[in-house]
């Protein structure tokens, strides 16, 4: 408390001094200032800071600070925080549901009427599928909204132009007019819940970014390697360059490739980090345990368990893991829980289950990713005894 009081006093002193410097001090303020200056500590500090000289004003200092970009960045993070908070609330709901559902069902059996049930069912909403959207973070702090069907040229700090059009974000191969000494300008693209984005890096590598994901990369790669960092899920079509390996750092796993196609799924709320290889060859290293490297061949998937930090390899149908980037969901004998986690990211919904054992129901389905969420649920309802009740953005899964 004492410290706050001191700080406030110094802020008031600063205000008075600013007024004095710009000759705006009135009599009562002058008196206030004189009184403050009589305090020994204050007058010593004042002398030390300004050396009795108020010619310290340096406007230039503030010039390079971009307040508008900073505010935009905070806005973006706030939105993410809110989305995250909703997930936390959902966690609570899950526990609450586990405890309360037997009670509610008992009550329903005793008092339940058909009317209540009807009311619930009519309250359905159309839930929009995700769409092409992301935000681009430039090295100089600018934040740019990326949307579909919007063409723009974005200028980097080194004069390089980045093209944003219907095929996503593209880094020009044409390297004229660029100060090559600024080779380490880093850009970042981040997708929100229900967003996806596509980009082509300076070496021609194509990347599809799934919802709630992030990729960080230099606008121009160095001579030794091509390194990027990924959070969430991304599909890579790496351009061949034998002399410069392409390295992806995804949370606890590092993937090294020469030229290939693969999918990496590293959402922090999924138990494993999965690398699925479609074509070519990749080398994996765990960044945490000192286990030896894993070489992956096409049609195989390396799965890193977050719990025991072990890497295992198995043969898989790669379509199932990469379909999302072609606009499809392919599920084969997949648990409802894992399917719904994908739905939550893509449709911006919160899911909870009336019975915990519903989570372990397994489904096989091929669905269009851009279909309305309710259509997808209807299709799933047709083949099982599960019902989906949609209320605003909350989906309740229950038995019929």
């Amino acid at each position: 408390m004492k410290r706050i009081r001191h700080t406030k006093k110094y802020i008031e002193l600063a205000e008075l001094l600013a007024k004095k410097t710009t000759k705006q001090l009135d009599d009562s303020e002058q008196k206030q200032l004189d009184e403050l200056m009589q305090q020994e500590q204050i007058s010593t500090d004042y002398k030390e800071v300004f050396k009795n000289d108020l010619t310290f004003v340096n406007i230039e200092k503030y010039k390079h600070i971009d307040t508008v970009a900073a505010r935009a960045k905070i806005e973006w993070q706030l939105n993410f925080k809110r989305a995250h908070k909703r997930n936390k609330r959902l966690e609570f709901l899950r526990y609450a549901a586990a405890i309360l559902s037997p009670i509610i069902i008992a009550l329903w059996l005793v008092y339940g009427t058909n009317e209540v049930n009807k009311e619930l069912q009519t309250e359905t909403y159309t839930l929009q599928a995700g769409e092409t959207k992301a935000q681009l973070f430039l090295s100089d702090g600018r934040v740019i909204d990326l949307e579909k069907d919007h063409t723009a040229k974005i200028k980097e700090a080194d004069g390089r132009l980045v093209l944003n059009d219907s095929t996503g974000l593209r880094y020009q191969i044409n390297e004229t007019n660029i100060n090559s000494d600024e080779a380490t300008i880093i850009n970042k693209v981040r997708t929100p819940v229900g967003g996806e984005y596509q980009l082509t890096l300076s070496d021609g590598t194509k990347i599809w970014l799934n919802a709630m994901s992030e990729i960080q990369y230099p606008v121009k790669f160095g001579d030794k390697n091509r390194k990027v960092m990924v959070k969430g899920e991304a599909y890579f079509e790496v351009a061949k360059d034998v002399n410069r390996p392409f390295i992806v750092e995804a949370d606890k796993v590092e993937i090294k490739v020469l030229g290939t196609q693969f999918n990496i799924m590293a959402y922090s709320n999924e138990q494993q980090i999965e690398t699925t290889l479609v074509e070519g060859s990749v080398e994996l290293n765990s960044l945490q345990s000192n286990s030896s490297k894993t070489i992956l061949t096409p049609g195989h998937q390396a799965s890193y368990q977050r719990t025991n930090q072990k890497m295992s390899v198995r043969e898989v149908d790669t379509d199932k893991y990469t379909a999302w980037h072609l606009g499809k969901f392919i599920f084969e004998e997949q648990t409802l829980e894992s399917i719904m986690r994908q739905m939550e990211r893509w449709y911006d919904i919160d899911v909870f289950y009336e019975h915990q054992d519903l989570k372990n129901y397994r489904f096989s389905a091929r669905l269009q990713r851009y279909d309305n969420c309710t259509d997808i649920f209807k299709k799933m309802e047709l083949t099982t005894d599960i019902t989906f009740n949609i209320n605003n953005k909350t989906v309740v899964v229950s038995k019929q």
């Binding site: 410290r3 706050i4 001191h6 700080t7 406030k8 110094y10 802020i11 008031e12 002193l13 600063a14 205000e15 001094l17 600013a18 007024k19 410097t21 710009t22 000759k23 705006q24 500090d45 004042y46 030390e48 800071v49 300004f50 000289d53 108020l54 010619t55 310290f56 004003v57 340096n58 406007i59 200092k61 503030y62 600070i65 307040t67 900073a70 505010r71 935009a72 960045k73 905070i74 806005e75 993070q77 706030l78 925080k81 702090g141 934040v143 740019i144 909204d145």
Partner: protein
């Protein structure tokens, strides 16, 4: 750019101010302030943004604008010190240097310096360009003749510009000073 949401902060004395106005005013100054504590080259902007983000919902608990400012300075300083202490760079710096930066008196002096600087800079920045130049040179301690020579203008012009400039500065300063007041004027 997506629309930026604003929110009204209601202080305990029932005064209100806009979050965005507060941010616009304090952000650049706090960044410069943070640099005084980061003995390493770290990104002061990220750090200050983190402070604002962390306290987005908590500004309502303060009793005055000065209290918010005092708090922002302290929170920024604490974040800086945490960073300095926890980074490996510790060895590279003399323990004494860190001790200086950690001291209470260093903190208060930086508050005094940066806050004074910020208020003056922001009010001067809002002046029309010709007045801004005159004031800047005048603050550097130049007398009218020197300013006139420097800007290639007559001494009389400088004199009248100065009067105008200080008059304008009064209103600008008021708006920088009191964003609560400013908000109600809009």
């Amino acid at each position: 750019m997506s629309p930026i949401s604003d929110k009204i902060i209601t202080l305990q004395n029932k005064e209100q101010l806009s979050y965005n106005a507060l941010f616009k005013q304090m952000y650049p100054g706090l960044c410069v302030f943070a640099q005084q504590f980061l003995v390493v080259s770290a990104d002061s902007e990220d750090l200050v943004q983190e402070v604002f983000l962390r306290f987005w919902d908590k500004f309502d608990n303060f009793d005055s604008l000065t209290a918010i400012k005092a708090f922002l300075f302290q929170a920024t300083r604490n974040s800086c010190l945490n960073l300095v202490r926890h980074e490996k760079i510790k060895q590279q710096y003399e323990a004494e240097q860190i001790k200086t930066v950690e001291s209470e008196s260093y903190f208060l002096k930086q508050v005094l310096k940066e806050e004074t600087n910020r208020i003056i800079t922001q009010s001067i920045n809002e002046l029309p360009a010709k007045y801004r130049k005159v004031i800047q040179l005048s603050l550097k301690g130049m007398v009218n003749e020197e300013i006139a020579n420097n800007l290639n203008l007559s001494v009389n012009t400088i004199k009248s510009q100065k009067i105008q400039a200080y008059k304008l500065l009064r209103t600008k300063l008021q708006s920088v000073f009191d964003i609560i007041h400013h908000l109600m004027m809009i």
